[in-house]
Symmetry: C2
Amino acid sequence: MRRAVVLLGAALSLGPVRATAQSGPEVARAYREANEASLVRDFAEMLSYPNRAHTPEIRRAALYIRDQMRGVGVRTELLEIDGVSPLILGELRVPGATRTLGIYVHYDGQAVDPTNWTHDPFHPTLYSAAMEAGGEPIPLPEDGQAVDPEWRLYARSAGDDKAPIAAILPVLRSFRESGVVPTSNLVFMFDGEEEAGSRNLRTYMEMASETLDDIDIWLFFDGPAHPSGRPQITFGVRGSVGMEVTVYGATRNLHSGHYGNWAPDTGNILAHLLASMKDLDGNVLVEGWYDTVEPIGEEERAALRAMPDWDAELRRELGIVKTEGEPQSLPERLLVPALNVRGITSGNTGSLARNVIPNTAVAALGIRMVKGNTSEYLRQRIIDHIVRQGFHVVEEDPDMETRLRYPRIAKVTGGHGGSIAARTSMSDPFAQSVMEAASAAADRAFGEGALVLAPGMGGTLPLYLFTEVAGKPAIVVPVANHDNNQHAPDENLRIANLWYAIDLYAALMTMPKTVF
Amino acid sequence: MRRAVVLLGAALSLGPVRATAQSGPEVARAYREANEASLVRDFAEMLSYPNRAHTPEIRRAALYIRDQMRGVGVRTELLEIDGVSPLILGELRVPGATRTLGIYVHYDGQAVDPTNWTHDPFHPTLYSAAMEAGGEPIPLPEDGQAVDPEWRLYARSAGDDKAPIAAILPVLRSFRESGVVPTSNLVFMFDGEEEAGSRNLRTYMEMASETLDDIDIWLFFDGPAHPSGRPQITFGVRGSVGMEVTVYGATRNLHSGHYGNWAPDTGNILAHLLASMKDLDGNVLVEGWYDTVEPIGEEERAALRAMPDWDAELRRELGIVKTEGEPQSLPERLLVPALNVRGITSGNTGSLARNVIPNTAVAALGIRMVKGNTSEYLRQRIIDHIVRQGFHVVEEDPDMETRLRYPRIAKVTGGHGGSIAARTSMSDPFAQSVMEAASAAADRAFGEGALVLAPGMGGTLPLYLFTEVAGKPAIVVPVANHDNNQHAPDENLRIANLWYAIDLYAALMTMPKTVF
């Protein structure tokens, strides 16, 4: 049962317009500086609404946000599908604008187990600094009280991903009060089920197609800063798909005494197969694996060279000496498709190990795709590779006739569909413009040259719905501190990062019209 | 708490001795032919005693068997350790005998789940033929009623391993009644915990050392016929030991998107290691693996050549085309040490698979040793091999300092002790004598040339306690039908195999004194 809310696509009038000589970022910054205490309190109020996807109470969070957005002049409605978190859709049409910016945020949060939290995750608690740095709980500030940017606000979704909404609202309010007009139409899409996989997002986007169709470019306001603590923007995500390979021995587990040295040793057979797929330096040996990777350009290569050298720190943190693809760095390695063993199951180990030769050995493979890859293409390369290793490939467990015909049999399942990789070229004029706006904001908030430009991140976002399905460029613009404990207990936002978000969004919403 | 029962090692007198011109086998056969119905009933009675190791009720089974043995003139006592099944120890000393035969049987049985049985496993049920061959339940025979040798008696331990006791008793009774004198002293050791691993057997043997010390040779009355249905005797068993190898990646599972292509892929690393240990033809590549194997002699080679070619049948049954070590046959492959993967654990597969790079991958290895091997030697060869593959080998999970020092780390645990392989040379005079006696019995029961001589079996028995620890030759002499469903529901014995056991044991107990 779907109930589409028809959006009247008419342009919204902005509030009373007053001429101003100040730029958007200047206006937003002045507004923030004059209202820091109330901005922190407003953020805390928003964070008090429980927001686990698809729960009855998330609708209250959605209604609250809808009303806040309406309060700053954005025509905002909820789209709803029964049993699914509402999608919050807002529009701010600007007379004369020739471009439309799509802004994606998600207002749902990860599940919480309150017993693991220092405070109730929906009773936002302000700290004088990060807990790990010796911060202590302090009361929310009163009007006029100075706000220390090193304060942290602890609550579920403080970092992931309500902070962008808490920054969008004051930017728009400041613009409204000062008569600043955004240089683009703005369409806000606040997803209520990102942490649950955004399974209904495509449907919602179809329901909202009239509003979304003229979006030129998407900005993803999600994710944390670079682990170095520096702000970053990212131009792509990897796609992801899983598949599974099962190799077969006898029809049943065999006694390792009675048959060992004679019966097929499934663990060893699978080991040879997996070893043939990737060498110990991390190079995938599957023929054609790297053939369809869309090459990166000079801008991306320059960005990679300029990124903080964080590998040594990561190795220290994770206790590893040798990484795949050395001496390439992690950011470089995220731009080629990955083939990993997510799991292996065969017989048992530890106290459950028995004297058997297991009749099957199963490997779950995790594939991370980059722009240019499709799951169908890579899946077929893997199947071809398995065939070249001497296997007869099947899709179901083999029957006796099949078993007695082929010396080696492998079942391959999965590997279809998955999420699609996306990457926006850094030479795209829009990308250039976003980089300029973000650089300026980052310079102000974190110091000259702070912004990290990452050609691609390793994980997956529903970015492909925008870039591949809708054919629009998209860029990920995170604002949360890198140590925000996203997906974990004691999630928090550093207040300085909220101020950065306000600077950044104000700049993005008033980018010169000429650049895209 | 141990309570040793002191056995008076004095020679037992045989019952009233009457001169007879008949040989032992002739006497036993005549006795059997005259008492077939009561022998079947007696066997059924013995099978009605529940006999799971270390249960309170197994003592009743032990007392019953002790009394039966005493009834045929064997001085029999129970040795007991608190909480452990009793060991039944019997002695029949023969005036003038210069040799002592040790006879091992186990009277305990595998656990039963009665819901999987057609009949109560301790309510022995006679069938007109095997269930699979259309047999129907029939009443136990009355005296004088003809007994069809194709009948089957269904009960736990019918085949494994009470049948030998059911055959020993009438042989000794017939000897006693007809004045046949065994040619050797006989010592009977009936183990009450074989299916539970015979963990107390060494202690029991030390407790009984006065009785056991002069045993020259051991016969193991256990196991089934060759799968071809032909009777067999076996001159050795393999030893067994397990060990475990764990390889390490990062200190925690890593997100396969954020780190895939850079973080160590533990499944792949383990795959390379396991693949390096054995090639796809089944040859172990661990240096020195085969170096300490005691070579077989001409008799063993001839026996191997004469064994039924059963590989093709086994492959059909088990649904496999390619076996390790082709074109060598299974019996040949049982004479070299095996290295198998008993299990692999890393992350998860199937619906539990997650987008992680598991931080460890674990392989449980199963090693089957042959005569000449020790677990310590083979364990060290494996460790040396792992080191040659570039790993730093540890015995505990590595700490951070260790992790940051070595590019590859493997933890190796287990591999110590285990059970020891044993093999009696087929050129041993005792072995020759047993072969002659068994051949004659098998010719009579199954037809000319029926006996299969197997230089070694694949599994493990506590044979090494006798051969290696006590330094005595030992031979495995099975009597049960190959399809006796041992360790499974509906275990049974074919009556013809009980008759064969009587012929065989009578021959073994009256082997010419000159052969050993």
